[in-house]
């Protein structure tokens, strides 16, 4: 047994987190910054964080992940990190020539009280930012929220800095994407194109974290939201913000700054969340929904009805980030699955409300928890009390899956041991079909592996 010390005796914990269902803010800020073209993320802290965050993203994507760090020493930790950051800015622009340096903080610089805004202002005043180049900053204390919070903070920093309101309104929509994969970013753009709506997607990690191998290395790949695109966001008709945890701050900031109103939506995962996204796009973009989109939707419903017998009543344990799992749980309930155990390390009061709304009627037995101590250990203990048919979550779920012999579907961050997540989307109707395929394959693989020989089926 890999997790042999885990028992079914659930004890209330107040201080100890075991096997977290979250990580810390800066990695989210780093990911968001990679979705901006020509941007080098910079970690203002000791260098260990930066290495860990680059490593986590690299293992997830099997792609280069660039970021620089202030490399605090003990002296800087006592006297402040201003000198380190100013030196770093000099070195970065001279050696690595990015268009934008996007600075985020760590628990170290936040605890000692480094004022990033003031240091960045000083860097500009001292002429350390070359003409036409940009220095953007976001405060991302690791002891608040989770990696999702860090993503939200960096996204907000970009909309604080770049969008401008001019007199010329643009016939375009802003899409603030929550933390989804490059494949999902690509799919969001494909769906907008199908809808014939002009959009600006921020951030956009497609063509950054899924670059082709052609024998050359490009430090700043061709993808990422460009500066002119970000500037133009202030003149857009509307913002569609996808996922409250990841995009709420940025949507509100953009509304306050440039008076671009926003619709707060779920990430378009599964049937109904995608429906809402399509409808919001149609309404805001003043377009009708083309037949091709309805056809895609119909194909997803077709697959659900075809395969419903394998999904009905299946008990699921799921862990992950709120924006990603809320619509996924809704999707499961729509397919008559039973998401019975749900944990998310990311705090936020709205989580319980959303769970209540989605689950109360159809899965009243569901247990859910978020925030500190809402960890995978707790979820595993619940599973030990009464098992499930499927586990859905990041790679760390494989330990529980093996111990308990439960089919497992990898979704979320990080996925360290499989490919696919960065190439095949899970958003939209097509993404819905892919999720279904993954669920069904996992469930059917176990059926195939365990059914008695006399009832081993050729056709399923």
């Amino acid at each position: 047994m890999l997790l042999k010390h885990t028992t079914d005796k659930v004890k209330e914990r107040n201080a100890l987190t075991v096997n977290p269902a979250k990580t810390c803010q800066p990695v989210g800020a780093m990911y968001a910054a990679l979705g901006v073209h020509g941007c080098l993320p910079h970690s203002h802290g000791s260098q260990g964080c930066c290495s860990y965050h680059r490593t986590a993203l690299t293992r997830h994507y099997k792609e280069p992940v660039m970021a620089s760090t202030s490399s605090f020493t003990e002296g800087a930790s006592v006297f402040g990190g201003q000198a380190n950051l100013l030196t770093a800015v000099d070195n970065i622009f001279q050696i690595y020539e990015p268009e934008i340096v996007a600075v985020h903080s760590t628990c170290l610089s936040e605890t000692i009280g480094d004022d990033l805004g003031q240091i960045v202002a000083k860097a500009r005043d001292d002429g350390k930012v070359p003409m036409g180049k940009h220095l953007v900053q976001a405060s991302t204390p690791s002891y608040v929220g989770s990696h999702v919070t860090g993503f939200a903070n960096m996204l907000e920093a970009f909309v604080k800095y770049f969008p401008e309101k001019t007199d010329e309104k643009k016939r375009q929509l802003n899409i603030l994407a929550g933390w989804v994969e490059p494949s999902d970013m690509r799919e969001l753009k494909r769906m907008s194109a199908m809808m014939k709506v002009q959009t600006v997607l921020l951030p956009d990690t497609s063509d950054v974290l899924d670059t082709p191998m052609d024998g050359t290395y490009t430090m700043y790949p061709k993808g990422g939201t460009t500066i002119p695109e970000m500037v133009s966001m202030g003149d857009s008709m509307k913002t569609l913000a996808l996922g409250e945890w990841g995009t709420d701050k940025a949507a509100k900031t953009l509304d306050n700054k440039c008076k671009v109103p926003f619709d707060m939506l779920d990430l378009p995962v599964g049937l109904r969340a995608t429906d809402r996204f399509i409808q919001a796009m149609a309404t805001a973009g003043k377009v009708s929904v083309p037949e091709a989109v309805s056809a895609e939707r119909g194909r997803l419903v077709d697959v659900i009805t075809d395969m419903h017998q394998y999904l009905y009543g299946k008990r699921v344990a799921i862990f992950g980030d709120p924006d990603n799992i809320i619509p996924l749980i809704e999707f499961m309930v729509d397919m008559d699955m039973k998401p019975v155990y749900i944990v998310s390390g990311t705090p936020g009061k709205k989580f319980a409300k959303r769970m209540e709304a989605i689950l109360a009627e159809r899965v009243p037995e569901a247990k859910y928890k978020n925030g500190p101590q809402a960890d995978m250990h707790l979820m595993h203990q619940w599973i030990k009390e009464e098992p499930v048919d499927l586990i859905v979550g990041n790679t760390y779920g494989k330990y529980i899956s093996r111990d308990e012999n439960i089919p497992f579907v990898r979704m979320g961050f990080p996925i360290l041991d499989r490919v696919g997540h960065s190439y095949f989307p899970t958003v939209g109707y097509m993404g819905g079909i892919r999720i279904l395929e993954k669920f069904l394959s996992a469930i059917m693989d176990k059926l195939d592996a365990t059914s008695p020989e006399e009832s081993f089926e050729l056709t399923m």
């Binding site: 997790l3 010390h5 100890l16 810390c24 910079h42 970021a67 760090t69 250990h377």
Partner: protein, 545 residues
């Protein structure tokens, strides 16, 4: 860009490359990097600038003190709960991410698959986290009943003044198990290296010597600085067992806290990774009189040499015969594979930038295959790892490292534990030229004109690839996909790309085969699309009948 040179008469002078690299830097940076990039001459005593602070913004590959302490040294010990006091990231990122395998006997504890954290929140930063830490220790004890708990400090802990040592002492008294703290905040020192030192000190103070059980079995040794990545230690353990060498304790691959507690009863310490564990080797010698030798089990020839060195130390005819028999048998197997691989890879170029040890050890494996190492360096090694221990007296401890605790170790007062016999044995062997407490470092073993680089950064990596066009680049996960985009295969020498083991004889065979796979594959020749080198086809919609 310089074209690949003819290497038949030795390596080309990399001075133009070095010049080009330095030209890009601001003046102060260039001055510093100049001293960390040495054009090697094994005949000369050259000095390298190492173990100094990282240049901000340079894109280093280095990690932090916490990583060196928790991630490296204590992480592999299976039956201790490593509780990380800090916000969640540090514990999350060190959760199962180094491949230190462990083999758990029936009924044995194994906490390596778990991640434990106090998950500090903003109120813990404002009001202090000691109360939460105490509560977390209690909860961990109640739920898991471990034999010991290690408490690891992360960046904010030192800054807000939480005293992990005092809390650990208090909880040790309350719960009656061994609980001890590590001040391994990420900002201490300049790299992982400080974390090694801090871990060595605390393990020596709080663990080593806690169990004076009587000696059983012959030829008792400890293996220091072997972390069982990909099963490396299993290979060594197997050979020791066959030879009749009793392995008391490994620091810390496939280890238990109990084995460390009685490690001071050994007859010999063997140091594998000099950088991370030489402190404990030194301290054990000072306190108990146990001598240490440098060994390496990476590469078939070094493995054989190390085994024979152990046999020579014990001077036992039966052991010597057994070791000779094993080496002869295993070398025959190794040579059979080498003969099939070597012709395909001989003369290829490798470069290697790995932590604080492997950039040296793995050169032996490449030598065995006739692959040339054109450039190498460490992330965080010290001058002694580059230049040899003889330079230790001349190393100046700078301001960034001065606050890393040096503990006073004195001779044990327990006469039964003080090994007068070993001191005499050491003296006698030394007369015959046997080397103790010695490590010659990487640079004397590298070719003339090879480029030795400390704390290599992204810019330098790019230029190295352009200049040398190496056939294989050895480094870590952060470099891997960067280098491969250039069409150059990268072998991870931290994680082994999820393969291994690479130690001893079977490990050498694994490595040879891995080089065969990486250097002989056709995939790199398929990178260019077939239409890339053909004249562009101008499209036409008309169908020619």
């Amino acid at each position: 860009m310089v074209k690949k040179k003819d290497y038949t008469n030795g390596l080309p002078d990399p001075a133009p490359l070095k010049e080009e690299i330095l030209a890009k830097y601001p003046r102060k940076v260039a001055k510093k990097r100049d001293k960390s990039m040495v054009i090697n001459d094994p005949e000369a005593d050259q000095e390298i600038l190492a173990n100094v602070r990282t240049i901000p913004g340079i894109i280093t590959q280095r990690g932090c003190t916490y990583a060196g302490c928790k991630g490296v040294v204590l992480g592999p010990t299976r039956d201790i709960i490593n509780l990380v006091h800090g916000p969640i990231g540090c514990s999350f990122y060190a959760w199962l991410t180094r491949r230190n395998q462990t083999s758990v006997p029936e009924g044995g504890d194994n906490f390596i698959t778990y991640s434990f954290s106090t998950d500090m929140q903003d109120e813990n930063i404002v009001f202090g986290g000691e109360a939460k830490l105490k509560e977390a220790i209690r909860e961990a004890y109640e739920m898991f009943k471990p034999k010991a708990i290690g408490v690891f400090s992360t960046c904010p802990v030192g800054l807000i003044g939480d005293d992990v040592h005092a809390v650990s002492r208090e909880m040790k008294a309350e719960l009656g198990i061994n609980i001890f703290g590590f001040s391994c905040e990420g900002y201490r020192g300049v790299s992982q290296s400080a974390g090694h030192h801090i871990a060595n000190n605390q393990v020596f103070k709080n663990v080593v010597g806690n169990n004076d059980r009587p000696r059983e079995g012959k030829f008792q040794v400890n293996l220091l600085g072997e972390y069982n990545i990909g099963g490396d230690a299993f290979e060594i353990e197997r050979l020791f067992e066959e030879a009749g060498i009793t392995l008391l304790s490994t620091f810390s691959g496939n280890s238990t806290i109990e084995s460390m507690e009685y490690s001071h009863t050994a007859d010999l310490n063997m140091v594998m990774c000099h950088r991370s564990i030489n402190y404990i080797a030194e301290m054990m010698e000072e306190k108990y009189g146990i001598p240490w030798i440098k060994v390496s089990f990476v590469g078939a020839e070094p493995a054989a040499k190390s085994l024979k060195k152990i046999a020579e130390y014990f001077g036992d005819a039966e052991l010597t015969a057994k070791v000779d028999e094993i080496c002869a048998r295993e070398m025959a197997k190794v040579n059979a594979v080498k003969e099939t691989v070597k012709p395909n890879v001989e003369g290829k170029l490798a470069m290697m930038f790995v932590g604080g040890s492997r950039a040296h050890h793995y050169q032996d494996l490449f030598k065995e295959l006739g692959i040339r190492v054109v450039s190498a360096g460490y992330e965080f090694a010290h001058r002694d790892d580059y230049e040899g221990r003889k330079v230790i007296p001349t190393i100046k401890i700078d301001a960034d490292t001065r606050n890393i605790e040096e503990i006073e170790v004195t001779k044990t007062e327990n006469a039964e534990l003080w090994r007068e016999d070993l001191i005499a044995k050491k003296a006698a062997l030394e007369e015959g030229g046997y080397k103790f407490s010695d490590y010659e470092g990487m640079m004397p073993e590298m070719s003339k004109n090879s480029l030795v680089i400390d704390d290599v950064n992204h810019w330098e990596t790019e230029k190295l690839i352009e200049f040398y066009k190496p056939d294989v680049f050895c480094a870590g996960i952060k470099e891997k996909y960067v280098v491969q985009k250039y069409g150059v295969p990268l072998k991870q020498l931290h994680s082994y790309d999820y393969g291994g083991p690479y130690t001893c004889f079977d490990g050498a065979i694994n490595f040879y085969k891995e080089m065969q796979r990486m250097l002989d594959t056709k995939i790199w020749k398929l990178v260019d699309a077939p239409w890339k080198n053909e004249p562009e086809i101008v499209g036409s919609m008309t169908i020619e009948a």
